[in-house]
Assembly symmetry: C2
Amino acid sequence: MANLATAITALIESKKYGTLRDILVTMNAADIAALFDDLEPEILPRLFRLLPKELAAETFVEMESDSQETLIKGFSDSELKEVIDELYIDDAVDIVEEMPANVVKRILAQADPDTRKLINELLKYPDDSAGSMMTTEYVELRPNWTVEDAIKTIRRTGIDKETINICYVTRADRTLYGYVTIRRLILSQPDVLIGDLAETTNVISCKTLDDQETVAQMLSKYDLLALPVVDGENRLVGIVTVDDAIDVLQEEATEDIEKMAAITPSDKPYLKTGVFSLYVHRIPWLSILMIAAIFTELVINHFSNLMSVEFAPFISAMLLACIPMLMDTGGNAGNQASVTIIRGLSLGEIEFKDLPRVIFKECRISLLAGATLAIVNFGKMMLMYVITYHNNFNDQFTPYLLIAVTVSIALMCTVFLAKFIGCSLPILAKKIGFDPAVMAGPFITTIVDVTSLLLLFGLALMLVPRIG
Amino acid sequence: MANLATAITALIESKKYGTLRDILVTMNAADIAALFDDLEPEILPRLFRLLPKELAAETFVEMESDSQETLIKGFSDSELKEVIDELYIDDAVDIVEEMPANVVKRILAQADPDTRKLINELLKYPDDSAGSMMTTEYVELRPNWTVEDAIKTIRRTGIDKETINICYVTRADRTLYGYVTIRRLILSQPDVLIGDLAETTNVISCKTLDDQETVAQMLSKYDLLALPVVDGENRLVGIVTVDDAIDVLQEEATEDIEKMAAITPSDKPYLKTGVFSLYVHRIPWLSILMIAAIFTELVINHFSNLMSVEFAPFISAMLLACIPMLMDTGGNAGNQASVTIIRGLSLGEIEFKDLPRVIFKECRISLLAGATLAIVNFGKMMLMYVITYHNNFNDQFTPYLLIAVTVSIALMCTVFLAKFIGCSLPILAKKIGFDPAVMAGPFITTIVDVTSLLLLFGLALMLVPRIG
């Protein structure tokens, strides 16, 4: 792409507009948009004017909002009007939502009155709702029409609809009656009534205020190409198409991943996001987690003073040296459980009612995993003893053995605790209305870190021989 | 769902098959499948027989492979044949891939010869390839046909095709010529030639051996409902539909999330996976990471002995106490960078050629973040000094100040290093053919942990006043 961008820039500079047009029309809108996003903003308007009307609109939709804004600012009023007229309503709304107020004003001024009214109506729905995601350009049929009537209507109006693959059947009061696929229409005789042909049981629909992630999951679960959106009175007001559902599913997965990695989510691609903006999205949790480590500091500080009095120096050193292993393993074990559960919650595979099953399952896993790790750790520590003290094998054997036992028990308890908190916290967080992905990391780390250290030092004071 | 399952079981026991059928036919295939997966396996065959033929096949496809196997074992040969005849080829292949050999044999024996041949052909493609994902049931038109011919063909054969929304146009040698949407066909005059109507530039296609994730990303990027799959000679051999692409995208996101959390990915939902299987998927990385902590142990062991000789006890204690904070912050900072980059690589937003840009960006972010955290940490440590030593404020001020400076510098360097490794390692791993999500975690943790400890102790030996 980088070489293509260079070539395009060179062609622009030498004013070879014919060649440029020939190159651009062989490309897909998504690829042209990616190319435009890589070019210098000031040459965009000249390039954009080379595109045929339809391709221009498709490309415009696929571009980053920064580049869209640059282009709009470079458009004449008539150029702006031409692009807006070509856009589907849901795309127009998405663009308007990202623009500053003065640009929005210009867009709305250039849109024709019907479009302006629709955009304004759709803008009223909350961000992330089905209403803000839907388009109003669907095919609407009536039960008393024949297949022939329906196909005539589609021929007359279909060119402006986002999809004609599924047509929606509404009653006279516009409430949703059912749907009929274009396949069914084509395979039927012309005189059959739409009301007899339409699928009317199992018609899946969503409400305007439903969350966009739930809506996208419905399209995925039921393998739909489009989902009708109804208002409080079951009147059809729009449809959500599968291409938008895919985008939402991808965005939501990215958001979950970012939250799990203690990043405040952002909806811009990494390479398009500025350094300062990335910094702002990352620093809050880094700071909070750093400050939360104060609890582990206090615990270590307290016990290291105590240990220097109670234990021989080599024992204190060994206990301190295994802290990172203990904390890392606890963190990893908790993370495995919480991440699995958070993803299950996102995909709708796990619900609140599954909490007892999840806890029972994780408890059994953690016993298996804890026991395995404890045995591996015990073996590893004894092996290190043999390697380190090979000269005087029997010298410190008993205290060393007891330290290994202490660490192994602490490890097993830590894994159990980490898995328990890791699996239950996200489900509880979701139940009380918090975001499970945001809540999990910091809490689990802090609770598990502090508890595992208290366990380690507590067990050491009980099991390991003290001075004197 | 739990209550519905109970009700269904009760109805089965009292043999109320009429009521059961009435309930089931109002439900969607995906919901019935979820219900069936919750029921006792032995009642499934009886319930399944109540479903109308088409709904039965749709439900069968949506079920977990365990339940499918139970059902197949309960089917008579003619029942099995009926279900297989209703399935789309790609779904049949997906099911066959999950079954044990004896069940596969029975399925193939009951399939009609054409279907059997197709299934066997599709089974030859590697798992996770476009070939294993595609269906062969698409509408194929010729350029010299008229729209009327085409619509006649669709009417005659369309009922068995997975989609008629996009029809593919091939030459006499079956090489891909272009495509035409059903919308375009319906909106055109009957005597127009398909060759004139078809879109022939910008026809996006993939090869049979392309990776399924790449293919799914293409459907998402270009907003396609279906993507043609061609063989080495550009002959059309199948299509991939958007519903399967969504499933692949969701699975791949889950896999990435699992790998980032140090879990070996599995494609079964959590609640359907046994405890031992979950244990097996989690224990390898837990063990490896625990054993990798041996390096940090050696570093701490070495320096804690050295420190007890070189520094006053309260200084050693303070340095040791801040180890968890330093390691956690390093881990979090590295994780933020690596997770962002891994997701960008998965979504195709970041490529190898972007490595210098990514490194430059992360270096600037890490300087900002490192400096912020160092200042916050310095402030926090001085505040703790005031709180802890409020009785004799000036007593240990100089050594305390120097420790705070030491820890803050070590912290800043750790954040820089963590971000640098976190952003570059996944890109390099992908370049040399490793999975970035698997590689990142363990390596970053181990390198950053060890280096940050060496930095902390090294700086302390240089900056903090020693005994005597």
